[in-house]
Amino acid sequence: MSRTVATTPRAASPSVGTVPRWLPIVTTALSVLGLGVAAYLTFEHYTGNSTLSCSENGLINCLKVTTSPESRIVGIPVAVLGLAFFAGILPLQLPVAWRAGRPWAQLRLAGLVVGVGMVAYLVYTELVTIDAVCLWCTAVHVITILLFAVTVVGTALVGGFERTAARR
């Protein structure tokens, strides 16, 4: 039987229902994991990828991906964008943020929609344009997708979408 954390009765803003205890734990853990991998890729980017640990075996070639022209978007390294994404999403996945009102839930979902869109673009770029796959980048993509899935279903579980539905 899962334990739940009751929302604070004093919450003045539109709040969500009871939050299963596992939900913020899972999403926070995924965010920390994503932040760690993104930090590693950022470190490698700024140290010339000299210690990037990844095999070069046919399609798998991290260096080819991380040093490609596509590794920057409008001049900003993709690794830095990933780091910024997880640094921004982590506070929104903490238990306190899950217990907070609807604006935080909406911000969390909006951030993850952007993140998944970015993943789709980067996967396409790796496979079609660069013709190589970076395993570390793939790890970040998988974490982002898992985070999106858990957050969307979790938001529905705690009734985070209900007010929007009631207006229709």
Partner: protein
């Protein structure tokens, strides 16, 4: 004792309140179930879209040909990567006028993934690079395998013009003995006033290119122990097709085999020093041993 009318009315009102609350709770549960189903479907749709992208990417046949190169035909790949041991041995050190790798003194070993690294930096427009790719690809094929080698020609505006060659752009190399990084820094297509940039260099590659290669194409860094540029005259290749060149590599009597296989033997001897003479059958072959005699100690 019989209930008064007031008590009956209160009990009925209470029952109605409970029923209404239960109905609201049931409606809320139903609504939440509906939201969970919608959310799950949304996640499934996203996963399907991503799966479609992955399938499109994996079935994408054409290689990344920003430089306009085509994939090397099988005959060329076989000719370059399957030069026989007897051909190498007969050619030995090859033509006497060919340039040998220059030893680097005191440079830190160049490694990647725990293995010695061979770094090539060139440009598809450059005729000297066009010549050097042949022996480099031949030598490296003795330690591992290429995938996605392309064919192209050097620029028609350079001298000698339109030298037939391979390209490392878009190719991958796998070896248990060493790592090969092949960068075609510029293509053979003019964009504006210069040739288009193709493969970006890392800061470390740029440093090596500047420090040990004088920022001049081609630059081949053999584990920071030796460097070499062009080893034979690219004019030897003009007017021939890649297939003709690849075929000539397996005939030790041809000038091209002497030039290309001989240069490959010299580079192989240098690489063997990096790999602790592995694989043994390659590093102890008579052709490599003969070429090692021309190699300065590094």
């Amino acid at each position: 004792m019989p209930k008064t009318n007031r008590q009956v009315r209160a009990a009925r009102a209470e029952a109605a309140r409970i029923k209404a609350a239960e109905a609201r709770a049931a409606a809320k549960r139903a609504e939440r179930r509906r939201q969970v189903i919608i959310a799950s479907i949304s996640v499934a749709v996203v996963l399907v879209v991503l799966a479609v992208i992955v399938v499109i990417g994996l079935t994408h046949k054409s290689k990344n040909n920003a430089g306009g190169a085509a994939l090397a035909p099988a005959s060329v790949v076989t000719g370059v990567t399957k030069v026989s041991g007897s051909t190498f041995d007969k050619v030995g050190a090859g033509a006497s006028q060919q340039t040998v790798p220059k030893a680097l003194k005191g440079a830190p070993p160049l490694t990647s993934g725990g293995k010695p690294e061979v770094l090539y930096i060139g440009a598809e427009y450059c005729p000297h690079c066009a010549a050097e790719r042949w022996p480099l690809a031949v030598a490296l094929s003795r330690f591992g395998s290429f995938d996605g080698l392309g064919v192209t020609k050097s620029s028609s505006l350079d001298v000698p013009a339109s030298v037939p060659t391979l390209t490392f752009h878009g190719a991958t190399y796998t070896s248990k003995y060493l790592t090969f990084v092949g960068k075609e820094h510029q293509s053979n297509k003019v964009v504006g006033n210069n040739y288009a940039t193709l493969d970006k260099l890392t800061s470390q590659e740029q440093t090596l290119f500047t420090k040990y290669g004088g920022s001049s194409y081609p630059f081949v860094d053999l584990g920071n122990k030796w460097t070499v540029g062009q080893q034979f005259d690219p004019a030897m290749l003009t007017g021939k097709s890649q297939t003709e060149i690849a075929q000539a590599l397996n005939d030790p009597s041809t000038p091209l085999a002497k030039a290309i296989d001989g240069a490959a033997n010299t580079m192989t001897a240098a690489i063997c020093r990096l790999t602790n003479n592995q694989p043994t059958n390659v590093c102890t072959s008579s052709g490599v041993t003969a070429a090692a005699g021309r190699l300065a100690s590094g």
